[in-house]
Symmetry: none
Subunit: 197 residues, 4 copies
DNA sequence: GATGAATGAGCTTTCATTCAT
DNA sequence: AATGAATGAAAGCTCATTCAT
């Protein structure tokens, strides 16, 4: 029985790649960079991921599932939609604080390198886990009469564009305050924008 | 008198580069690609821009000034802030329709390739033309009592994150309808989020 | 066990590069030239030397150590200083005959391309192995009363300038006779110049 | 009548090229560099010298004639050969002080870039003006019985190798004292090496 | 599974030289 | 004579990927 299973080693690679890609960008990060960070040979890397592009795609799915799972937990709670917005914003910002590489990868690698994700990750294929949960969140809010019944993408764009924009500004060190101090005003802005009237 | 002045040729390069970078990404686009699209030799390209990175930076400033100028024209109008929001959204979406490469460059190249813009374009240095005008827009709205007096970045993130997010979804061909059909709901969402209450 | 160890391959590169650099000059010799001469790909060359400049610097040190070692062997002999001069001149001329690329590299690449060796090989850093032995030779000669006690550099310049000049003339095919036939007169000239009186 | 004749402009180019080549090396110096230093366009440069290589060759001849003329003046003096050696050494070191680019060009460009001077400057073709005068100096010394009658190249190599070596050490900032302070010991060394016995 | 030397296409950039003006 | 934009070949170097061990 090996000390480290194949699955664990894949996780190590994912973790290292996520950090490197989000810090240095997809093209600037090399496979030797990743292998070295994991402490493995270049050749062996290819036993786990058959190409750089495929690694990149698995990474998006990994993040999408992680994010989706977190939203699902919030969706299941028995609280008002307004409160849920608070919690989603909190969750997102906490993630940006604690595992910044995940959000950064999303914003800077996935959203920006169409040429990489074109083949096999078109549209929302690789992020469906997360988009689906957000869809459920909106539907619930509309059903319960708390949110106005508007086009999903208008709402989705607001939510994710807004949060992404803030984290981006934060990453650029443009925000004068820590991310958390914007939570309240942002949640309120979102709720005001989406609430039924 | 030359048929094509040096300044015009620079503009040709800017135009070609903008299209290529926004379609294929910064790293996938090569200098030979750009030179060929302009109809000029590789060597001659370097008579106009001393490096690929410098070209990329001039491109951001070019777009920032273009956007800033358009917002300035709206700022100067004698109309309500609510109407100004409509116009800014319209302007942005029209740009995304007519000169998509500008918005796409912004979203996919500038915002995502820190390593390229780090040197000389840190923070908001290269986009000040445009950010400044948006600042003026908010200040005016707050002064006139139409917008609530909130942190600039909370408002800025909402505005630009939202618009960027929508154009992104559009570029991904995820939106079922043309961009323009979202104008109304988006303007309303933004206004509801920001208006004084 | 590989047929050819990594160290041997480095030696192969050193040997090929030495020949090419000394024949064609540093700038005219290309990495593809070197790789081809070794029978290796361009990319692989960089697994052994991280840049052309670094290769050039390792080459100087390689030669300096080779020369230094040979002078050391002469220094250790129990013979008169006059005889040692004979032997050093012989050794140097034999080297110029048998491994001309070493001396030529020294004269034509190292001594002439300051811009290449500036960084990390300033002054005598990369040739200390050889200079040190020559210093020992002079010191011993002075101590034993055979050489006059003069400034080291006056003596060093005479010795190396003279020998280098002759090899240079030889390389230019200007000398009417083979190098060896000048040994006697040159040794005598040097001894007459340096001997105690 | 033009303010600056064609000949004067050629001299300007020679002067600028000499400085640049000797400071930065032949390959690192570009034609635009030279043109800029002269204050002339690249295109116009080619009206004066039809290629970089040809410029390099004219430069050697220019220096050779300059050096030859100076030795000739010493040869003509009615002084002892020992004194003439003093004067040649002095002249050479003064030149290295006042017009270092000439000596440096000789040592670092002409002597080291065979590939450039091969065609049309083989052997001593481009330096005959200077070599001839040195030949005369030796012949005179031998005729007058002051120098021993030895092979010309043994003597020539000593003289020029020694002086070149010292200037080289000086250029490398290795000499602890100014060049001039070595004059006496060097002249003596040379005289001791060459004098009749 | 694991290693890392090897490949080779391709990238950015440079520069001597030309030539229309 | 003078200008400097234009050319294009070639250089140094990188890196995803393969494969013998």
């Amino acid at each position: 029985m090996p000390k480290v299973t194949k699955e664990e080693k894949k996780t190590n690679i994912i973790s290292a790649a996520l950090k490197l890609f989000s810090e240095k960008g997809f093209y600037v990060t090399t496979i030797p960079d990743i292998a070295q960070k994991v402490g493995m040979s270049v050749g062996n890397f290819y036993n786990y991921f058959s190409s750089k592009d495929i690694l990149a795609k698995e990474l998006v799915m990994y993040i999408s599932e992680y994010l989706g799972e977190n939203i699902r937990l919030i969706n299941e709670k028995d609280i008002s939609t307004e409160k849920k917005i608070d919690e989603i914003v909190s969750m997102y910002f906490n993630m940006a604080d604690n595992r910044p590489e995940m959000i950064e990868y999303f914003l800077r690698v996935y959203l920006s390198n169409r040429e990489v994700f074109g083949n096999g990750c078109e549209g929302m294929i690789c992020v469906s886990a997360f988009v689906t949960e957000l869809m459920i969140f909106f539907d619930n809010g509309v059903s319960s009469g708390e949110l106005q019944d508007q086009d999903f993408f208008s709402a989705f764009g607001l939510f994710m564009g807004y949060l992404g924009g803030m984290v981006f500004l934060f990453g650029e060190k443009i925000l004068p305050e820590p991310l958390n101090s914007y939570k309240k005003s942002i949640s309120t802005n979102i709720y005001n924008a989406l609430k039924a009237r």
